[in-house]
């Protein structure tokens, strides 16, 4: 279900540690986007992104002027170039700024990774001419920049992304309410968070988003230490959101942790499947370009699956 994407040509910042050392968020995003573009152009699977990217499959009725003849000649497949006027895609990036996002066993935190991801998406979409909006949230919705495509908007988004995180927990219903209350136009919604929240709290807002016809993608950024629980000395674990301290011996705790974690992930995935939402796991140790390619592959397979489901 998750076809291996071709690995993009590695840029100088394929190593996320090196990338995160770049202080400027804009420069970071630009680096990833450029690397991603290069990789995308070299990828034999380029064009998976369909309606998301500037290419989408030709369907009868599309203006033949926009058919990509080169691709047709090479791959014997019909794609059309999509221009801004035609795509009219509105994107919302929802970024979780809660404290748990501040965790990182590497030299950078999940939040740094997520910010870079959000900035990259914003720049990528902006370069395509799409309207991009940003909504940061913790327990309440914070900054809201409605989707626009005009000069300076991208910088406003990047500036908003650079603001420090203040909140404690994460509650998805506030930003979702904000989006739903502001715009009735359907569009893409990227929710970037660690989703380390009880599934019961996620279900209602995600259902609401999906029900309103938004194309929702959950980008779950997780630290490798959270995925594999790589602790082995007895320490006091302090919950970053609640402040609760629990002394624990990781060796004895690991099995239980991994089991519960796996259950949570499975539950999240099945929730997403039920709602037709793309769930994409992004371990922070993974290069962002790879993560984006994987994401595009996932979208493609999701589209196929949905198509299959609908056709069957």
């Amino acid at each position: 279900m998750n076809p291996n994407p071709s690995s993009p040509r590695s840029s100088n910042f394929a190593d996320p540690v090196a990338l995160m050392r770049v202080r400027s968020l804009e420069l970071r995003a630009r680096t990833v986007v450029e690397g991603f573009w290069k990789g995308l152009h070299r990828s034999p699977r380029h064009g998976f992104s369909a309606e998301f990217a500037e290419y989408r499959q030709y369907v009868p009725g599309d203006d033949i002027r926009y058919l990509d003849w080169k691709v047709l000649a090479r791959r014997d497949k019909s794609f059309i170039r999509k221009f801004r006027e035609e795509t009219n895609v509105r994107c919302h990036v929802l970024l979780d700024l809660s404290r748990s996002m501040g965790y990182g066993s590497k030299s950078y935190t999940k939040l740094e990774y997520a910010r870079t991801l959000a900035a990259t998406l914003a720049m990528f979409l902006h370069q395509q001419g799409d309207e991009i909006g940003l909504l940061t949230f913790d327990e309440v919705a914070r900054d809201y920049l409605p989707p626009r495509h005009r000069s300076g908007h991208l910088h406003a988004i990047l500036a908003a992304l650079d603001r420090p995180a203040l909140g404690l927990g994460a509650a998805l219903h506030s930003p979702v309410d904000a989006i739903l209350s502001r715009g009735r136009m359907r569009g893409l919604v990227f929710v970037i968070s660690d989703f380390l929240t009880p599934l019961t709290e996620l279900k209602a807002p995600l259902s609401a988003l999906a029900a309103c016809g938004h194309d929702v993608s959950l980008m779950q950024t997780l630290d490798p230490a959270e995925i594999h629980f790589t602790f082995d000395s007895t320490v006091n674990f302090e919950d970053m959101e609640s402040g609760r301290v629990l002394p624990a011996d990781p060796d004895r705790l690991r099995a239980g942790y991994l089991k519960k974690f796996s259950e949570h992930q499975q539950g999240l995935k099945s929730l997403c499947d039920t709602l037709g939402i793309l769930h994409h796991l992004l371990p922070t140790g993974q290069p962002l370009e790879t993560a984006l390619h994987t994401y595009l592959s996932d979208r493609q397979s999701l589209g196929q699956r949905i198509v299959r489901k609908s056709s069957s």
């Binding site: 996002m101 501040g102 660690d194 380390l196 007895t234 320490v235 919950d239 002394p247 990781p250 004895r252």
Partner: protein, 626 residues
């Protein structure tokens, strides 16, 4: 095992501390922030077997180190068995030393004698009892050898009878000399108990007790005469006159209760009221019209022994220095020029440099070895004079050969690379003693460009007081007849050395004058055999003798000061009359066995092991946390 300070064992209760810490240590010290504890079990087990094992070893190490420290502070020792063989009866010699210095005059002396009498009564009848008094030196009344020879029945009575002869004099207290002389007089390996009776005043000299090693069998028992609770002692000393005005210095001892006194000068009816705070001194000029000879009297304090000081002739003594074959006084390259500059009049005397010997023997003779009348020089020295011969060149050593009557000895000019320095100096020698204080003892800055190396034949008759840094003799002294010949193997000419240009030069020459026994403006008891203060005849002149100002300092000497000098002080150890065993005191056993010291070493080792093990365990900590 017994303990000298068993109350320290209460510190063992502190062992609970590492145990508590160990229990607490089960809870991890490090706190790691984690994104969410939602996947954690609610009550997770927090220990693991490996950690527990490590902690137990650490606990054992820590407890052991702490326990060893506590035991060390309790000063353990292994007491000698009660039934161990007793030392031979009468093996202990008790040496009774009674302070008879000036400060003991009167009531203190009576108290000391009474205390000594009481002490002797308590001593076992079989122990030997020797008796001596001390002030500036030890006066043995019954020496230990003779005391041991007495039959046991007579020992106490003999000692008690000798106490009747004890009488205070006017000397200063030389406690160091008294103790050292008594230990030397007792000799042998038999146990010796020195019983010191006196006021143990701060003015006592202790210098010679430093760095002294003491026989194991020696115990020193102090019997201080109890001073009155509030007492005042002030002393008066005459100073050399300044501009023909007589001056007296009044010193009030530290701890005195009063500070107001009166001064009365003979020949005048005026009584001056003066105020000198405790622990300080002040100088007072005599009123006009005092006679050429008289005394000043201080009143108002509790001790009379130091309340009078005399003066006599007003003229400063003149010290004559014979300097044969002088060069031009203005020639800055020669010794004579510097000699004249160094020999300025002092507060105590003035100096006259003469080039021909007079009928009166010169105080000092200084020659640089120019050919001259060696026989006259020899006669001056042998008659009791002091001479300094500086070797200006190899041929000057001929004078030395003639004086010490050594033949076929050929001195050589030293091959000095760059320069030589003074290396080894005998600061106990009278010439260099004034420089013994570390503030003045650095001669290493004086550079010597040229000197003469004397052959062994010329060195051996004398005593080397100073050497250059390569070991060659620099200063030698030769006894000749009644006098002394000093030889400096270089000179203070600028061509030879820097000596004349240094601060050491003039004090060195004046030290020679003082050693010649001349030139003092102030004379203390003991000078020329005079044993009482006042005006006395010395030779053909009259001199005023006073007591040593240090004797006026009656503040009691802290016992800790004596202990700091390493003196084996202890409580009196008297064998019980009915017991045949005489065990060493607990403190002595403890200090000999040094068990506590070894326990401390062991504790340190345990702490090292603990640190190493803790570091090892710490390295295993997981770095996977942020």
């Amino acid at each position: 095992m017994a303990f000298l300070a068993p109350f320290f064992l209460a510190g063992l209760a502190a062992l609970a501390l590492p145990v508590l810490l160990h229990l607490r240590k089960n809870r991890p010290k490090e706190t790691v922030a984690f994104s969410s504890l939602m996947f954690f079990e609610d009550h997770p087990p927090i220990t693991k077997r490996r950690a527990r094992l490590q902690d137990i070893l650490l606990l054992i190490l820590r407890c052991a180190a702490l326990a060893l420290m506590v035991l060390a502070f309790a000063r353990p020792f292994f007491p000698a068995k009660e039934n161990s063989p007793a030392p031979p009866t009468g093996a202990t010699t008790h040496f009774i030393l009674i302070d008879t210095s000036a400060s003991m005059r009167g009531e203190p002396e009576e108290k000391a004698i009474a205390a000594a009498r009481e002490e002797i009564e308590k001593l076992p009848k079989d122990d030997a009892i020797a008796v001596a008094t001390f002030s500036d030196r030890l006066h043995i009344l019954l020496d230990p050898e003779r005391a041991r020879g007495l039959v046991p029945g007579e020992r106490k009575s003999t000692a008690l009878a000798l106490l009747g002869e004890v009488q205070a004099d006017w000397q200063a207290t030389h406690l160091d000399d008294a103790i050292l002389s008594a230990v030397a007089a007792a000799g042998g390996d038999t146990p010796l108990h020195l019983h010191l009776f006196g006021d143990f005043q701060k003015g006592s000299t202790l210098d010679r007790l430093r760095n002294e090693s003491w026989p194991d069998a020696l115990r020193i028992v102090l019997h201080p005469t109890a001073p009155a609770d509030s007492r005042t002692n002030a002393g008066v000393q005459m100073l050399p006159p300044e501009k023909q005005v007589r001056r007296a210095r009044v010193t009030n001892a530290a701890g005195s209760a009063k500070s107001a006194f009166t001064l009365e000068w003979s020949g005048t009816a005026v009584k001056t009221t003066i105020s000198v705070p405790a622990g300080e001194s002040a100088i007072f000029d005599a009123p006009e019209g005092v006679p050429t000879e008289g005394k000043v009297t201080l009143t108002g304090d509790d001790y009379a022994f130091d309340n009078e000081a005399s003066w006599t002739t007003s003229a400063l003594p003149v010290v004559k220095i014979w300097h044969p074959s002088p060069s031009e006084v203005t020639d800055t390259t020669e010794t004579t020029y510097f000699l004249h500059r160094a020999m300025q009049p002092t507060a105590d005397y003035s100096v006259e440099i003469i080039d021909t010997p007079t009928t009166e023997a010169p105080a000092l003779t200084i020659t640089d070895g120019k050919p001259g009348d060696v026989s006259a020089l020899r006669k001056v020295i042998e008659d009791g004079g002091t001479a300094l011969l500086t070797l200006r060149d190899v041929s000057a050593a001929k004078v030395l050969e003639d004086l010490v009557q050594v033949t076929d000895a050929t001195p050589t000019e030293a091959k000095v690379k760059d320069h030589a320095r003074f290396g080894e100096i005998d600061f106990k020698s009278p010439v260099f003693a004034p420089f013994a204080d570390p503030r003045y003892s650095d001669f290493s800055g004086i550079r010597i460009w040229k000197y003469r190396v004397l052959p062994e034949k010329l060195v051996s008759p004398g005593k080397v007081l100073a050497r250059f840094d390569n070991g060659d003799p620099a200063w030698l002294s030769y006894p000749l007849g009644k006098g002394t010949l000093h030889v400096l193997t270089t000179t203070w000419r600028p061509a030879d050395s820097q000596l004349a240009l240094t601060t050491k030069f003039a004090p060195l020459l004046h030290s020679l004058i003082a050693n010649a026994g001349q030139g003092r403006g102030v004379y203390f008891v003991g000078y020329d055999g005079i044993d009482a203060p006042g005006i006395h005849a010395s030779g053909n002149r009259r001199i005023a003798i006073q007591i040593d100002p240090a004797e006026s300092e009656l503040t009691p000497l802290p016992e800790a000061d004596l202990r700091a000098l390493g003196l084996p002080l202890d409580e009196p150890v008297i064998a019980k009359a009915n017991a045949m065993t005489a065990t060493l005191s607990s403190a002595e056993q403890e200090s000999r066995q040094r068990t506590g010291w070894w326990l401390l070493v062991a504790a340190a080792l345990f702490y090292l092991a603990e640190t190493a093990w803790a570091a090892l365990a710490g390295n295993r900590a997981n770095p996977a946390t942020s």
